[in-house]
């Protein structure tokens, strides 16, 4: 474990010494909980319509697929006209695109980022690598099934998919959200132990709390 995560004594600015245990003190320990629909159907439908029209993507490029997102942001394909935009932090975004291969090292960061996002949140797996490993199927350092580690709502196949395929994927994502089927966050909370077991199976130096909220 990294030294900055160890339990230690810290001297405050007022000279008082106190104990800090980063894993307990800096993070919320509670596991995620299932958030059932709170209102009657017509209201939930309205909410889902609103959610589908404001897809905010976390600007986190995990693999080579991230290169396909740049033309989408710029005038050539201009995803903003569909109410899709990129945000710099997990707290501000609700869609996480795993863009291509995911190494074990990046998986750790991806899990942290996903857990920090606010519900309702969605995950799109972009490219063959997220589906079955793609061309990295025999790599010593990349995972082969994204849905073992994060709840994936939609896959976009291809190596790499063109920006048009991504736009079509956003349209499908909107349909899924509007139909009320984008329950990834709840699925994650429900099967939390299973997801954690899978994640810890590949991440051998687990040095973060179980839930990074």
């Amino acid at each position: 474990m990294k030294p900055e995560l160890m339990k230690r004594m810290v001297k405050g600015p007022d000279g008082q010494e106190f104990e800090v245990e980063p894993l307990r003190d800096y993070y919320c320990e509670a596991a995620p909980t299932v958030m059932p629909a709170a209102y009657i159907k017509i209201v939930e439908d309205f909410f889902n319509w609103a959610r589908s029209e404001s897809i905010w993507i976390l600007g986190f490029g995990t693999g080579c697929g991230a290169i396909e997102m740049r033309p989408l942001m710029t005038p050539r394909f201009d995803a903003y006209r569909y109410g899709v935009q990129w945000r710099p932090t997990p707290r501000q975004s609700n869609l996480f695109i795993i863009s291509g291969y995911l190494s074990v090292k990046t998986l750790k960061r991806a899990i942290r980022s996903y857990e920090q996002m606010q519900s309702p949140k969605y995950v799109i797996g972009l490219g063959s690598c997220t589906i079955n490993g793609g061309m990295y199927w025999d790599s010593y350092n990349t995972i082969k099934r994204l849905d073992d580690y994060l709840p994936v709502d939609l896959y976009i196949a291809g190596c790499m998919p063109r920006p048009e395929a991504l736009l079509a994927g956003f349209m499908d994502m909107k349909k899924i959200i509007r139909a009320g089927n984008a329950e990834g966050a709840n699925k994650y909370a429900e099967n939390f132990d299973w997801y954690k077991a899978n994640q810890k199976q590949v991440i051998h130096d687990w040095d973060m709390p179980d839930y990074n909220w």
């Binding site: 490993g133 010593y140 995972i143 082969k144 991440i203």
Partner: protein, 179 residues
């Protein structure tokens, strides 16, 4: 390049010069002469830039080959210096670092320590993790490391992936009656 090789040969027990291009050559030198040779090249011969430091795993010979590629910007030519060091079947190989001549070498040495298991004692941060985190197996660039086996044992895979020989498959598709 030949003239440079002749000049160096009078000073060090160099091997044959392999001229890959007029401006790119390789020489082999015993490990104990590496440091004086590199100092000579950098201080006297104008090879002031370390382009890269990399390794090759000659598993059959029980050796690692280290290649120090140097560049002489003024004369626009590159020289690769090869060193063979013993390769233990298990555990770390050891070599002297050159990070005091070129500080950038420390990064290469960290990489070699992690990916090939070649230790450079005294090199800055050489024992810290570099690219891999929580690595549990032997260094992955060693040739006796089976990446496919490791991947199959460690990562879940999705069934349904199949591979076909393109020639046979197209034949079958185009000429199903076998003509």
């Amino acid at each position: 390049m030949r003239e440079l090789h002749q000049r160096l040969k009078s000073l060090f027990p160099l091997g044959e010069l392999t001229e890959q291009r007029p401006d790119l050559g390789f020489v082999t030198v015993p490990a104990e002469y590496l440091r004086p040779l590199l100092l000579q090249l950098s201080d006297r011969e104008g090879f002031t830039h370390l382009v890269l430091l990399t390794a090759v795993d000659w598993i059959e010979d029980g050796q690692f080959q280290l290649t120090y590629l140097l560049s002489n910007r003024g004369a626009a030519r590159d020289l690769g210096v090869r060193v063979m060091i013993p390769r233990p079947a298990n555990g770390l190989a050891t070599m002297d670092g050159i990070h005091d001549i070129w500080p950038t070498a420390a990064t290469y040495q960290r990489e070699l320590r992690e990916m090939f298991g070649i230790d450079f004692p005294g090199s800055p941060r050489v024992d810290e993790e570099f690219i891999l985190e929580g690595w549990i197996d032997k260094p992955p660039y060693r040739r006796d490391f089976d990446t496919k086996k490791f991947s199959e044992e460690n990562f879940n895979h999705r069934p349904g992936r199949e591979t076909r020989d393109p020639e046979q498959y197209m034949k079958q598709q185009l000429y199903p009656d076998g003509k």
